[in-house]
């Protein structure tokens, strides 16, 4: 559960606000995608939702961010970790270097949380299996490829089982199969354990298929917020540096050329497109 109320933030030394008047209520079990062009404020929002703003990045802020009922600026950063998990973009820097094997790297967070040994092992192995890394468990984390390191960063967070999981462009180095597998995993996570998931992501076709809700950021403001099919097929999307999925683009052209008579809303995924054209 995330409650953001009238939240504004500007980084120290930069008068231009990075986020302005954000209002968001994300209930448990919801997968909320944040989309927007580069520099729209996605990463800043992810940091604000995970406590790194205001604890790690200083600046001027107003409004409040509450996660699972507690205000993040009131609890120390070291206690935020149990509540909110954050996966960020650069996979290499998410390898802590504190441990020598992939399995131990995943276990590191659980050790810090004081989880019992048997449970550490079970949860770490489960997280590695879920991210397709089980066979690399004994490797050095530094011997992995970029995509494998990214999956390791995700596995390390999954193992900690936070009730709120924030992912900032976690698929930048993943291949298409790995990206889809991650979204499927997030889908299962949200429905089976009521985990609140916020994911900043550029791959709109996957957002369209898996997100329950899409928030469009531009210039640090929320421009649109709603169901994927409403937001991602809106003609206003392109004005903010985002391109609708290819299915939406084709359907829109067909409709404007008078070639599609369907009264259905514009499609954004393959199954929707098939139905639209039938």
């Amino acid at each position: 559960m995330i409650e953001v109320e009238d939240f504004s933030f500007s980084y120290a030394g930069n008068p231009k606000p990075a986020l302005t008047a954000i209002d968001l209520l994300i209930p448990p079990g919801q997968v909320c995608a944040i989309v927007g062009a580069n520099g729209a404020g996605k990463s800043t929002l992810c940091f604000a939702l995970s406590g790194f703003i205001p604890h790690f990045y200083r600046g001027t802020l107003s409004g409040s961010v509450r996660v699972n009922g507690s205000s993040l600026s009131d609890i120390p950063l070291s206690d935020c970790a149990g509540e909110v998990g954050l996966v960020f973009q650069n996979p290499f820097n998410q390898i802590t270097g504190a441990r020598f094997t992939v399995l131990e790297e995943v276990a590191f967070g659980l050790e810090n949380l004081g989880v019992g040994r048997d449970e550490i092992l079970a949860r770490s192995q489960e997280a590695l299996a879920a991210t397709g890394l089980a066979e690399l468990a004994d490797r050095s984390p530094f011997a992995l490829s970029g995509g494998q390191q990214q999956r390791l960063a995700i596995a390390s967070m999954l193992a900690m089982r936070p009730r709120v999981l924030v992912l900032d462009e976690p698929t930048s180095q993943l291949d298409p199969a790995g990206t889809e597998a991650l979204f499927e995993r997030l889908d299962i996570l949200s429905s089976s354990s009521d985990t609140t998931i916020v994911i900043a992501e550029q791959k709109l076709e996957l957002v369209a298929a898996f997100a329950h809700r899409v928030v469009v950021l531009s210039g640090g403001r929320v421009l649109a917020d709603g169901k994927p099919r409403e937001v991602l097929t809106s003609p206003a999307l392109e004005a903010h540096g985002l391109r609708a999925t290819r299915y939406t683009q084709v359907a829109r052209r067909l409709r404007s050329a008078g070639l599609a008579r369907s009264t259905l809303p514009l499609p954004m995924t393959l199954p929707q497109a098939v139905e639209f054209l039938r």
């Binding site: 995970s50 790194f52 790690f56 950063l77 070291s78 206690d79 935020c80 970790a81 149990g82 998990g85 954050l86 996966v87 960020f88 650069n90 820097n93 998410q94 390898i95 802590t96 270097g97 504190a98 441990r99 020598f100 399995l103 131990e104 276990a107 590191f108 967070g109 659980l110 050790e111 810090n112 949380l113 004081g114 989880v115 019992g116 040994r117 550490i120 092992l121 770490s124 050095s140 530094f142 011997a143 960063a153 390390s156 967070m157 900690m160």
Partner: protein, 254 residues
């Protein structure tokens, strides 16, 4: 690839609790520096350290590692002590200087003492996983942050070297001269070092975030996936080594 010297083997020495090995190493270092005669000092090296290295199936590695470090000391000690120390038994008359037997003996004894200390440290690092070593110290009260610095340094230094190489490659592909005269090498230093340092500082920020996200600074009880073997016999042995160490120090002082 990591920066550790640890060589995994299936041996009894490898399976010992790291603390046992530390206290044994400590006892050897103290023995090496307090025992009065050369045969006694060499006895520690041969009977204790080399025997353990052999049973760890690392005998050749062990001797090679010791030799590589000890020979410059041996050579310089032989020259300095052999020629300049007090003594009456002249072995070789070299005009203003004489090579004396007493000097050679004292050079050999000093080298032997160094060799024992070096051998103890080498045996410990060759047979002990650094993370287990650090973890066993954390269990005894070493701050987790200190242990982290040691373990990370071992892993990140090779990464750092790889990054430096890729910066060199990138700058050369843009036409930077990194070879040739001293002046052109010096001139190329800044465009190589600046991105390395700045990039590492930026990494530092993200690495700190990654650690915080993994609850690294959380207070309270920590657990561990790693299990460190320990037994009553080892615990008794550890106390034995420590008592022995203390006794040697006391005897030496008296």
């Amino acid at each position: 690839m990591t920066g550790t010297l640890y060589l995994p083997r299936d041996s009894f020495v490898h399976r010992l609790n790291p603390l046992t090995k530390i206290s044994l190493a400590l006892a050897c270092v103290v023995a090496g520096s307090t025992l009065p005669t050369l045969p006694m000092v060499l006895g520690v090296f041969v009977l204790v350290l080399s025997t353990m290295a052999a049973s760890a199936r690392l005998f050749v590695h062990f001797l090679r590692a010791c030799f590589r470090v000890i020979w410059p000391f041996a050579v310089s000690l032989t020259i300095v002590q052999g020629l300049f120390s007090e003594g009456t038994t002249v072995l070789l008359d070299l005009g203003p200087f004489n090579l004396k037997a007493e000097g050679l003996l004292s050079a050999a004894t000093l080298t032997g003492r160094l060799l024992v200390g070096l051998g103890a440290a080498t045996l410990l690092t060759l047979t002990t996983r650094p993370d287990l070593l650090m973890h066993s110290l954390v269990e005894r009260g070493l701050p987790a942050q200190t242990a982290y610095i040691v373990v990370t340094a071992l892993q990140i230094i090779p990464e750092f070297r790889a990054r430096a190489q890729s910066i060199i490659d990138a700058q050369r592909s843009r036409g930077l001269e990194t070879e040739g005269s001293m002046l052109s090498r010096l001139r190329s230093l800044f465009p190589l070092v600046a991105p390395l340092v700045l990039g590492s500082l930026m990494d530092l920020e993200e690495r700190a975030i990654a650690l915080e996200a993994r609850a690294f600074t959380r207070r309270g009880h920590r657990t561990s996936l790693l299990e460190i073997p320990d037994s009553t016999i080892e615990r008794i042995a550890r106390w034995g080594f420590l008592l022995l160490t203390g006794a040697m120090v006391v005897v030496r002082v008296i």
